[in-house]
Symmetry: C2
Subunit: 275 residues, 2 copies
């Protein structure tokens, strides 16, 4: 299915070659699930985008405008994936942002008629490291070559996803997901102050865990910690919670905490903002 495009509110699918998103990855993006005619966790996606805009000194987009444009691009289709790219817009050669930047909004929508079955994941630990930079950590910027190279690794090896470490050997997350380690009734997930992306579903799972009384903590974790975990799961906006049943040559069950949290977030994020 080839997606539909809406760029700065206009039906078009090309951008200027001097856009800084292309030249320097000078921008941010969000990938959002449309379910039952609703953009799931729309407010959480917009909050992360707005945080990224502040960190990059970009003007934040108007939520109502984005909601209206999503309605336009999905044209009544109740199910699919919306991707929003926001760049600093055009600029002359040179890294320094232009004084009067005019940001670009690129919306695309891929309809997905049938619900997909997200089975358990087989993951490997990738050789490609996650880029470390506290100034960009947590943000979903357009600088994603680390995930690109790591994704080529797990795909070549026949896995479903790959885990990435930083230069200090600490776990950062999956190439397109966040990861959680379960010890008893305790949840651990990598601290993302040096690299990685703070996923919207990661935030929803942490909130859901708090709501059902599961203790959760962000921590510096190493590959050895994976071997100690009783359950492992990965999250992203399109999957929700997915059990990891194979990690670094080790088989794991889909455990009770994973099931509980998968169920806890299943219906969430659909209550507001009919985009």
């Amino acid at each position: 299915v080839s997606p539909l495009w809406l760029i700065n509110g206009i039906r078009q699918d090309r951008v200027d070659a001097d856009d800084r998103g292309l030249a320097y990855g000078d921008g941010l993006f969000e990938t959002m699930a449309v379910r039952e005619g609703v953009v799931r966790f729309f407010e959480r996606h917009m909050a992360r985008l707005e945080l990224g805009c502040r960190r990059l000194s970009l003007p934040a987009p108007d939520r109502a405008l984005i909601a209206a444009e999503i309605r336009s691009v999905r044209g009544g289709c109740p199910r699919g994936t919306v991707k929003l790219i926001m760049t600093r817009g055009r600029g002359p050669r040179g890294y320094a942002p232009p004084e009067h930047a005019e940001p670009l909004r690129i919306l695309s929508f891929e309809p997905q008629p049938e619900p997909s079955q997200h089975g358990p994941l087989r993951v490997m630990v990738c050789k490609t490291l996650a880029s470390t930079n506290p100034s960009l950590a947590g943000l979903k910027t357009l600088n994603r070559l680390d995930s690109v190279l790591a994704s080529a690794e797990w795909r070549a090896e026949g896995y479903d996803e790959g885990l990435m470490l930083d230069t200090d050997g600490h776990l950062v997350g999956g190439t397109k997901s966040n990861i959680f380690l379960v010890y008893g009734h305790h949840l651990l997930t990598p601290r993302l102050d040096r690299g990685g992306i703070c996923g919207v579903m990661r935030g929803a799972v942490l909130a859901a865990a708090a709501a059902v009384g599961i203790e959760a903590e962000e921590a510096r974790l190493s590959p050895a910690d994976l071997g100690q975990a009783e359950e492992l799961f990965a999250t992203n906006a399109l999957w929700g919670v997915r059990a990891i049943t194979h990690c670094a040559q080790r088989g794991l069950p889909t455990g009770p905490v994973t099931r509980q949290l998968a169920a806890a977030v299943r219906g969430l994020g659909l209550e507001v903002n009919r985009c």
Copy 2:
């Protein structure tokens, strides 16, 4: 002066919105000086691009084709700046590179009628850190948000350039240049195995230093080392060698080693490949 564009050999200035260069910064670039009708250090630029292509598993572009396209885009103009962006081309949503990628070549040329006078530089040390990733270190990829944010810093403070450190506090280089520290007749420059870009002019200066008997070494350097240096200079493909005469509140002279190396590289890189 607005530049001329040539995209995959065709005069156009727009790219598809699903290009992976825009989506993920999945690509590389080169900025080359045209002087006296010649692309200066063309072979060095192509060698770095080809190294980047190997590291990113992109097919390397044909040097003769790039040379011919540069001739076309500059149209006989003897002086200016050529920028070549190479991306992995279009692809569906998802980090993993498509099996049959068709890379995109984006060439632009900005004529520059008059030689610019590159005076000495005033530099500050930026708060924004350089991204650390051994898999990408040295390459001129499209993931340049660290340099973008650091450039906003030095420009806001009224400097000419900013120096960047990595997460371990080691010097990486300028936002758009490589740096050299002179101690007596000895040259030091940051080792770029964890971050930064191995500049073409950096390579030319190291070769020129060897040729004139100046000992040079790549090393882990800290901001304290800047304070100890007798001379500092910065290099890039457009500047050549530029003395740093103000760094972190300290004034420095334009010293003899800087002058010698500036003179040594001045005429270099123009002997081959009339693009």
